[in-house]
């Protein structure tokens, strides 16, 4: 069965600094990978997803992620964060037509 590990429960960063949120997964087959963002008191919103093709995926709000099959990782990056990026970020994985399995989330805290 697939699983997702988000090692960093919280990442503090200053505004306009770059950020990387780490995600590792375990699966014995090909997977689809997702990053969702959750703002306070709101539902989850898709940032980006990898299904196939280019391993560098660009998403909304200036975020991008790179699929690394050999390291079973799908880290999320942004070159310059804004205060409004403060939120909870969830990495998720699915195998084929199976359900999404979410990680425990990383809280991104952007300070002025």
């Amino acid at each position: 069965a697939q699983s997702v590990t988000q090692l960093d429960s919280q990442v503090p960063v200053f505004e306009e600094a770059p950020v990387e949120l780490r995600c590792n997964y375990s699966s014995s087959v090909s997977v689809y990978l997702f990053w969702y963002v959750q703002y306070p008191n709101q539902g989850l919103q898709l940032l980006l997803k990898y299904l196939s093709g280019s391993t560098l995926v660009k998403g909304i709000n200036g975020f991008e992620a790179e699929f690394n099959k050999s390291q079973t990782s799908f880290h999320l990056r942004k070159p310059s964060v804004h205060i409004s990026d403060t939120a909870e970020y969830f990495c998720a994985v699915s195998e084929g037509f199976q359900k999404l399995v979410f990680g425990t989330g990383t809280r991104l805290l952007v300070s002025p």
Binding site: Y32, G43, L44, Q45, F97, K99, L100, F102, G105
Partner: protein, 115 residues
């Protein structure tokens, strides 16, 4: 386009009482999901519907939880009786197309507190 609608947004009940949550998915989305999100955790799937059929309910605690999706549109999730450990956020999501690949659109959730 209207998003996924959930009600109520907040619910406080005493243990052993029943509670129900309602979800209206995005129009045209045939797949509907109910998730449980505990504090500090990611969402965990409770049940997935394809139209009216529950195709994955393996994680639904059937002794106290039940769900239905009449006419393949709106859905209701019920807990009876509620326990203290059921305090959490219950999220509804919907998608079109193939499960596992398609983007899921989430509602704002219902925050349940059981006293």
């Amino acid at each position: 386009e209207a998003g996924v609608v959930q009600s109520p947004r907040y619910k406080i009940i005493e243990k052993k009482q029943p509670v129900a949550f309602w979800c209206n998915p995005i129009s045209g989305h045939n797949t509907l999901y109910w998730y449980l999100q505990n504090l500090g955790q990611g969402p965990e799937l409770l049940i997935r519907y394809e139209n009216e059929e529950a195709v994955d309910d393996s994680q639904l605690p059937k002794d106290r939880f039940s769900a239905e999706r009449l006419k393949g549109v709106d859905s209701t999730l019920k807990i009876q009786p509620a326990e203290l450990g059921d305090s959490a956020v219950y999220l509804c999501a919907s998608s079109s197309g193939l499960a596992g690949q398609e983007t899921q659109y989430f509602g704002p959730g219902t925050r349940l507190l059981v006293l």
